[in-house]
Symmetry: C2
Subunit: 503 residues, 2 copies
Amino acid sequence: MTTAQEPSQGSSEASHRAVPHMSTDEFRRRGKEMVDWIADYIDRLNGPGTERPPVMAQVEPGQVYRSLPVHPPSEGEPWEAIAADIDRLVMPGVTHWQSPGFFGYFPANTCFPALLGDMLSSGLGVQGFLWHTCPSLTEVEMRVTDWLAQLIGLPASFTIEGSDKRGGGVIQSTASDAALVAMLAARERAPSIGAPTPTTGGPRLIAYTSTQAHSSIVKAAMISGVGRDNVRLIDTDEDLAMDASQLARQVRADRDAGHVPFFVSSTVGTTSTGAIDPVRTIGELTQREGMWHHIDAAYAGSALVCEEFRWMVDGWELADTFNFNPHKWMMTNFDCSVLWTRDRESITGALSITPEYLRNRASDEGLVIDYRDWQAPLGRRFRALKLWFVIRHYGADGLKAFIREHVRLAALFAELVGDDHRFELVGKRELGLVCFRLRDGSDEETKALMQRCNDTGRILLTHTVVPVGPAREERFVIRVSIGSTYVTEQAVRDAWDVISGTV
Amino acid sequence: MTTAQEPSQGSSEASHRAVPHMSTDEFRRRGKEMVDWIADYIDRLNGPGTERPPVMAQVEPGQVYRSLPVHPPSEGEPWEAIAADIDRLVMPGVTHWQSPGFFGYFPANTCFPALLGDMLSSGLGVQGFLWHTCPSLTEVEMRVTDWLAQLIGLPASFTIEGSDKRGGGVIQSTASDAALVAMLAARERAPSIGAPTPTTGGPRLIAYTSTQAHSSIVKAAMISGVGRDNVRLIDTDEDLAMDASQLARQVRADRDAGHVPFFVSSTVGTTSTGAIDPVRTIGELTQREGMWHHIDAAYAGSALVCEEFRWMVDGWELADTFNFNPHKWMMTNFDCSVLWTRDRESITGALSITPEYLRNRASDEGLVIDYRDWQAPLGRRFRALKLWFVIRHYGADGLKAFIREHVRLAALFAELVGDDHRFELVGKRELGLVCFRLRDGSDEETKALMQRCNDTGRILLTHTVVPVGPAREERFVIRVSIGSTYVTEQAVRDAWDVISGTV
C-alpha cells in the first residue's frame, strides 16, 4: 500500500488513518498525469498514421476479461500499478471512437472544454434530483437548455424562459431515455383506457414510427408496457422518410378498430441513412388526432445550429417533445441528450412521486424545478457544466463552422463515391452520413469489402440493411458517418483510398 | 476568441481552421488547473471551519438562472472567462455533498481514484452498447462486477464467472434504473396475462414492497405500466422492516382475487431509517410463489464488504436480482449502480431489440455480452474504470476500514443523542444512519430545530416521517447520515455541538 496516505487535512483520529485515502497532493500529481495521458492519446489519434492504433480493437472475445485477475486485491495497490494496466490491459481492447478514422454508427464525439466540464462535475460530486440539493445544477441546466434551444432555433414555447411555465428543457442520459419519457407523457395525456386482456381484446394504445426509426422507440414501448405489438412501423418513401399518408391511413384504421392512437415518433436523421421524416405533415395529423408528437433528432439536431438545415424541422412548433444528443455531434461527451417539451405537466404527471423525505416546499409552490420528475431515474449529476463550457468555448459561430465542415467533407466523400462506377449511393444525403454499396456486387461482396476495410485498422465502417432502388429490395449498405471532432479532409480522402483500393 | 487555436496536430485545411478547437497544449494547461481547482476544493471542504462554505447553498430560487446571460455567445469566449464564472456564478448555488458537514439523504461520495477513472472514461469517449464497440468497456465491467460480488460475499450464481452463463453483473445508472430493469425481467418471466381494462377487471400483475421502500419501486411500476395501483405497500414491524407474514397474507389474498403476484422488492437499508427487511423469509415466499425477488440495498450494500454485516442479507441466494450503489457509500462517483442477476435471460428477454445495424455475430453465438440488452438506454460509457480504480486503490482491507470507521462514528453519534434526555432515537441503527427527534417536542419543533441547524451553514441534515413508538404515530424525524468520504470524529462531534446547542 505504498501510495496510501492521509488526506492533507482534516483527519486526526487514529482509526481514520487506517483508511488509505489518496492525498490531495497525490491527486494533484496523478490528475495532471491523467490530463497528459488524455492529451497524448488525442494527439496520437491525430498523429501520423504509423503512430495510430487500429481503429477497431483487435482482441478476441474474453481476452480482456481473462487478462484481469480473478480476485480483487486484499490490500490496496500503488497508483503506478493501476496506471500501468491502462496501457497494458485496457487499451488493446479499446475501439477508438475519437479517432479521425472512426466512421461507424453515429459519432459520440468529445472536446476538451467538455472534458473540463465533466471533470468539474465529478469533482463537485453533487446531486440535482431536487432543486435545493444543488440549485446551480438545476438552474444552469435550465439556462443552458434555453441557450441550446435558441442556438437551434427551437420555438420559445419549448423553453423555460419563453413558455410561461409550460415548457422547458432537461438533460437526459440518452435518446432512448428521452423517447421513453415522451411516450410516458403521451400515455399520461392519452384518454384513459386500460390495456387489453388477450381474451377480451379491449381498446389498445397505439404508437407509430417509421420502419427506419431507431430501435429505442420499440424499446420504449416494451418498457412502458404499451407493448411491442402496439407499435406500428409505417413504411417509408423512396428517400426512406416516413410515408405520412400511410401513417394517416393506419391511424384511421386503428381508430376504426376501436383502438387509441396516442403517440407518433418522427425521425429527423434516421440511424440507417439520415432520412428526414415530414415533420409538419405529421404534426398536423397529431394535432388533429390529439396524439403526442415526439421528434427524435438524436443525431441531426446538432446541425440545426446552421440556419440552412432548419428546413428539416419545418413544423416542429406543432410537436410536443423534441430531442437531440449533444453527445453525438456537438462534442459534449456522453451522456448528454437534451429533451424539450411544450407540455411539462404531462411529463411530471407521468413521473412524479413524492414521498415525505423528498418533499420540497418551494416546489410545491411552483417556484422551482425538481428535475427528478422529468426523468426515470432519481439521481442526476451536473451534466449541464460540460454543455455550458462547449457553448461558451465555441460560441454559435464555432459550432456552425464545425457542422459545416463535416457536411462539406461528407459531400466531398459522396462525390468521390458517386464518381466511381463500381459504387452506388443509397438514400439521400443531407448531413454527415454517406451510404453506398457495390453497384453490381452481392450483399456478401459489399459486406466482405467492409470487413476488409475494417481489417486494415485504418478506418472503422459500419453497415445497415435498407430497401434500395425502385424494387425496394433489402440490401446490405455501408455507412460512412463523418463526425469525429478532429476529422480532416485528409482523413476522409484516406478513408476513400482504403475503400476504393480494397474493392 | 483569444484561446481559439489549432489542435496541435492533424489539421491542414483552411476550412478546418475556422473551428476554434482548444489545442491539446491548452488542454494540458487548463486540465491541470482544473485538477488543482478540484484538489483545492476538497482541501477547503476539509479545512478549518472558517474557510468552509455553508454546506447548503444560500441562494434564492431563480437566482443562479437569472445570473446567467439570456442569450448564448455568438463568438467563443476565452477559457479564463468561463473558468472565472465557476467561482462567481456556479459555486454560490452549490450544496456541498462532499463536505464533512454533509449528513443529508444518503451520501453520494467520491474519492480521487474514482475521479481519475472518470477522467479516463471521458477522455477515451468510447461507447459500450455492443461488445465490439469497445471490448474493454464490456469485459472490465464483467470482471469488476465479479470482483465486487466477491468483495461483498454475493453467491457465485450472480457472477459472470460462476454462473454458467446464467447470471452476472452490470452497471446501471441508478438504483431506480436497476429496480425498473428487475421489474421488467420479472414481468417477462411472469405467467402471460394482459393488463386489465377498467371495465372487465381482468387479472392484474401485482408487485409488493414495504411502506418504507424507496419511491423508485412505485416509479418503476408507473413507468412499466404495471401501475401504481398494483403495488402493494406492506406494513412494517416496530423496527420499520417489512412484515413478512403480512406480505404472505396479501399475496394469498391477491391470488384468491385472481391476480398474479409477480414481484417483491425487499429493502436492505431503507431510505428513511436504514431498516432491514427479512430477506430469507421473503425469498422463501417468492420461491414458493414463483415470484421475482429483487433486493434493493442501494445504500447498505457497501457495508457488505465487512463480514460482520452480512447477516443483513441472509437468504439472498434465493433472490433473482441484487442491487447496490457504489456511488452512494463506496466512493465511486455517480453514476455507478451495480445490478446482479441469477437470471440474465429474463433481463435480455425483456430488453433486447435487434435491428440489423446493431447486429453482432459473436453475440448471436453467445460468445460475448452486449450490455445494451441489460439496460433501458442504448448508449453507455466506460463506468467500470472508476470502480476498478477504487477497488484496486483501496483493496478489500481499505474498503472495510472505510465502512467500519463510519459505522463507529454513527454509533458514537447515536450514543451522544441517546445520552441526552431531550432526544429520542428512532428506528434501529445498524450502519451509518442515525434517526432521532425531540422527545417531548412537537413535529413542528423538531422541524424548526433541523432548520436552525441547517441555517448555521455548518451542517446539512434532512428528515423523514415514520411511525414512531407503540402507537406508531407518524412523526417528523431528523436523519443524520454519516458517509462523507472525509468525515471525521471531529466533524461528527461538531455536528452534535450544533444540534445540541441549537435546541
